[in-house]
């Protein structure tokens, strides 16, 4: 079976302090070279804290940002032209904020028709049939089609966002924090809908979130991102219960859990490394209880372990 999505050495560098003429003052590497494979039909969860590069990575995967280095292969075919229209047929994106991802001055029908017309060149009749089919799949009534986005609640708007992504007929969906703007009771509705759609349409998901429990509940495998690099990849049932990277352990220990006493799992003064002045060795060095001289000098590589559990650490737990 070919992998649905294969990234090799994908990285993104942003210029900072641009000038009218001449080169910018500095560069920030938002995503270090990342290599990942997502199998067809799999849900790969990506967790990380704010600023770890997860959204930058996601935007590269759908062609909204051009990668600085590396290659994206979708179903065996390389795609590197950063053209959202080409990407759009194969891979689609569900946005974090459901309301702001819908144009306030367009009806839901106009929003839904855009991918059908532009990506697939369907005529009016085919479009209507396809929209009816998708709306039925996401449990939305067709009378919603002539309303405007502000008339919907967050949960409904997110269903519309999912319906739009499905309309393009892509087989891979990037779900960028799809439920973090929703209330918990609605969050579960949307997550269950996503699980149902995946089975029904044979989809592959890349599920990005900062909520470890949600990611664990929906993913087959989970990749942990820290400071733009993948520090650990492993099966969802293992990665938080049996973390191998000290950062993953810190994340797991920090998540508030009913029945666990409150404690600060690390010193309270720590801060993230400065992206303008990145550390030479391991980015987690300053926060790591196991840091050694080796960690100061050489950044650790992602090493494959047993049962597909990889970790980028000189001293894995």
């Amino acid at each position: 079976m070919t992998a649905a999505l294969k990234l090799s050495g994908l990285s993104k560098t942003f210029p900072v302090g641009k000038r009218l003429l001449g080169p910018p003052r500095a560069f920030v590497r938002a995503v270090q070279p990342v290599s990942l494979t997502v199998e067809t039909g799999e849900t790969l969860g990506i967790v990380g804290e704010s600023g770890c590069g997860k959204s930058t990575l996601a935007r590269m995967l759908v062609g909204l940002l051009e990668p600085t280095t590396g290659q994206i292969e979708i179903e065996g075919e390389p795609l590197d032209n950063a053209d959202p229209a080409t990407f759009g047929r194969k891979i689609q994106y569900v946005f974090q904020d459901p309301i702001s991802s819908l144009n306030p001055r367009k009806t839901i029908r106009q929003i839904m028709e855009a991918p059908l017309r532009n990506l697939h060149g369907m005529d009016a009749k085919a479009r209507a049939a396809r929209i009816a089919e998708i709306f039925a799949a996401v449990n939305l009534r067709e009378e919603f089609l002539d309303r405007y986005p502000h008339e919907f609640s967050g949960g409904q708007a997110q269903r519309i966002g999912i319906a739009r992504a499905l309309a393009a007929d892509a087989r891979i969906l990037i779900l960028d924090e799809p439920v973090s703007a929703l209330d918990v009771s609605v969050q579960a509705q949307v997550l269950n809908l996503l699980a149902g759609l995946k089975a029904k349409f044979d989809l592959t998901y890349l599920f990005i979130s900062h909520d470890l429990a949600v990611v664990e509940a929906v993913s087959d495998r989970v990749a942990v991102l820290y400071f733009g690099s993948v520090v650990e990849v492993g099966p969802a049932e293992q990665i938080f219960s049996n973390p191998r990277h000290p950062y993953t352990k810190l994340l797991a220990d920090s998540a508030p859990v009913v029945g666990r006493a409150l404690k600060a799992p690390e010193g309270r003064e720590t801060e993230l490394p400065d992206p303008l002045n990145p550390p030479t060795g391991c980015a987690f060095l300053a926060r790591c209880p196991f840091a050694s001289d080796q960690c100061t000098s050489t950044p650790p590589e992602l090493v494959e372990g047993e049962t597909g559990h990889s970790v980028a650490c000189h001293h894995p737990i």
């Binding site: 009218l20 900062h210 797991a252 309270r268």
Partner: protein, 628 residues
């Protein structure tokens, strides 16, 4: 139409609209009116007074009929002004949209060009353009349009930048749309209101500028009349025959005044911020309109803060949103009370009502009392509230970036917070501020005190927010989702900090959140809110161990817990009710699997259930008794 209704709220704008409509109609029907030819001279009849035998308004220095010239001139001036505005708006908006949409170097080069154009005094620029092109009405029009392009370009660029970064533009890209299509169908419809606003406020100005050029003889050429050239020609006879100047002058005054009044009205009606009432400044304390004052409860004498049957409503037009519908709560010194609920459950409004911080209008406290150390704060004089706010009862809000002022250093803001309540010297206050930053464990407090909020990370900013809340050693801290915007590792640090602070200082904390994990770790007691009321209340461990209200039980089941592995999640069908239309009986009945007809009749009261617990349900989960 809502636009016309909003516009008519502004009396002056309505008057402007009526006058303008009159002028436009007159200008439109001018060719049909039985008027003398405006350009036929008759020097024998020069300078005839108005209301005489030579027409209603008399004649000018060449004996031409002034009424006819005035109407034809108005027609021409309006046409030129509107045309100039349209041209300037179209070209300016196009430049602004392109610059804002593409950004980067394109933006930089275009906007620097526009800046250079703006650097010239615009009347000089207009004169230079006319001088280069030669006098004439068309060239005057071009000049006026050209000097107004930068204004539109800058305005529209700013709006476009914010729209171009919206997620729906990315979504349109992924739908296969090209740049041109995105600009036309996604960006433009969102920019048009701004263009209309900008036009409505500048069109009067452009009529004036065209008249100015004509007055100088650079616009319309004789014998053609426009308002500016009429004034210019009448200038020499200003003293001897003032009516020749007064007639066109008065018309210019009327037109420009009417357009400006109308333009202001249009701007107010179209601007979404003004529409939602942002222009009406909120009062310093929430409006209170209550019939009776509930007595202070005796059983909770040791409570430092006690809410009794608090009701807060929002009155928007003819709708009444019952955000808080009768809430009883109390918190003791050193205790942490959690309020948990989904968005719209009224938990934040409850917290803001305590110190009268709900914006009025539209907020109104319609009932209940808030006892702080035995003193009722609802309806207390503003001066009393001001002395307590931030001094003895302090707030921590969700987004520290929004609550800290971006232009002052965190030190200045901390010092201000201290000095607002305690008259100390700046140096003393600064030392105190450094101590505060140290107490919330900010590293290098001595240097960090001079940082601006944007220079700090989210976690550090929230620490500053906490330090500010601690500034005057309050008895009660009300924390409204203080960790929701933070990462988990930072959240853990902040929570443990708050926990230490309340133990060390005996603080009472009211902690508002939607996260059961946070409640479990920090709070002694918890109140669950739904649709503006408390549905369940009690010790945290008891409630999380055995929820009595079906809503609590089902909400807890929705939350995935770490360590559970991959699974199907429980969901609550439906949506919370909207608080302007609450159902009879239990608000949760429509989503509850146990609901019976009895739930939808009459009031369901909060009844005690075991020690220190209460539940608002006629058929609570049975597990309660067993757990007690």
């Amino acid at each position: 139409m809502s636009f016309l209704r909003l516009l008519s709220r502004n009396r002056l704008a309505l008057a402007g609209l009526v006058v303008m409509a009159l002028v436009v109609v007159l200008a439109l029907i001018t060719p049909l009116l039985p008027l003398a030819d405006p350009d036929v001279t008759n020097t024998a009849d020069r300078f005839k007074r108005p209301l005489g035998d030579a027409g209603l308004l008399g004649t000018d220095h060449l004996g031409r009929d002034l009424l006819s010239r005035l109407l034809w001139g108005t027609r021409l001036s309006l046409a030129v002004g509107v045309a100039a505005a349209l041209i300037a708006a179209t070209i300016g908006a196009a430049i602004g949209i392109v610059a804002g949409f593409y950004g980067g170097r394109t933006d930089n080069i275009i906007m620097r060009g526009v800046d250079m154009l703006m650097a010239f005094p615009y009347i000089l620029l207009a004169l230079a353009i006319v001088a280069a092109l030669g006098p004439g009405l068309l060239n005057a029009l071009i000049a006026v349009a050209a000097v107004n392009i930068p204004f539109f370009a800058r305005n529209i660029r700013g709006v476009t930048v914010s729209i171009a970064h919206k997620e729906f533009v990315d979504a349109a890209r992924l739908s296969g749309m090209g740049d041109v299509r995105i600009i036309v169908t996604e960006v433009l419809p969102n920019v048009i209101p701004v263009i209309v606003i900008a036009m409505s406020t500048t069109i009067g100005w452009m009529i004036l500028e065209t008249a100015g050029l004509s007055f100088l003889g650079l616009g319309s050429q004789p014998p053609q009349a426009d308002l500016g050239s009429m004034l210019g020609e009448a200038r020499s006879a200003l003293i001897t025959n003032p009516h020749t100047s007064v007639v066109p002058g008065a018309m210019i005054l009327v037109i420009v005044m009417a357009i400006n009044l109308l333009g202001d009205g249009v701007r107010d009606a179209l601007d979404p911020r003004l529409k939602s009432g942002a222009l009406s400044r909120p009062m310093p304390a929430t409006l209170v309109r209550r019939d009776s004052v509930p007595p202070q409860p005796r059983t909770e004498d040791e409570a430092i803060l006690a809410l009794r049957d608090l009701k807060t409503e929002f009155h928007v037009k003819n709708r009444v949103y019952k955000a808080v519908g009768g809430v009883d709560l109390h918190v003791r010194p050193g205790e942490c009370l959690g309020i948990i609920g989904e968005s719209g459950s009224g938990k934040s409004v409850t917290a803001l009502s305590v110190m009268g911080l709900v914006a009025s209008p539209p907020g109104v406290i319609t009932g209940g009392a808030v006892y702080f150390e035995g003193q009722d704060l609802i309806g207390a004089p503003y001066e009393t509230l001001r002395r307590l706010r931030g001094n003895r009862v302090a707030y921590i809000f969700q987004d520290p970036l929004a609550t800290l002022h971006p232009l002052y250093t965190v030190g200045e803001q901390l010092i201000e917070a201290v000095r607002a309540h305690h008259p100390t010297s700046r140096d003393e206050a600064r030392t105190h501020a450094i101590d505060l930053l140290k107490s919330v464990r900010i590293p290098n407090a001595e240097t960090r005190i001079d940082s601006y909020p944007h220079e700090l990370s989210g976690g550090m900013r929230q620490r500053v927010g906490i330090a500010m809340a601690l500034a005057n050693d309050p008895e009660v801290i009300i924390a409204d989702e203080p960790t929701t915007a933070l990462d988990v590792t930072v959240q853990a640090q902040i929570l443990s900090l708050l926990d230490d602070l309340r133990r060390e200082r005996g603080l009472a904390i009211v902690f508002i959140t939607h996260d059961f994990g946070v409640v479990a770790q920090l709070c002694d007691r918890v109140a669950v809110m739904y649709a503006g009321r408390i549905v369940e209340e009690g010790p945290t461990a008891a409630i999380l161990g055995a929820p009595a209200h079906p809503y609590t039980a089902r909400l807890m089941a929705c939350v995935p817990e770490l360590g559970g592995g991959r699974r199907e999640l429980a969901a609550i069908p439906g949506l919370p009710p909207v608080v302007d239309n609450l159902p009879q009986g239990c608000a949760f009945a429509d989503r509850c699997h146990k609901a019976t007809d009895a739930c939808r009749e009459g009031e369901v009261t909060l009844v005690p259930k075991g020690p220190d617990r209460a539940v608002r349900c006629i058929d609570p989960e049975i597990a309660t008794e067993a757990a007690q």
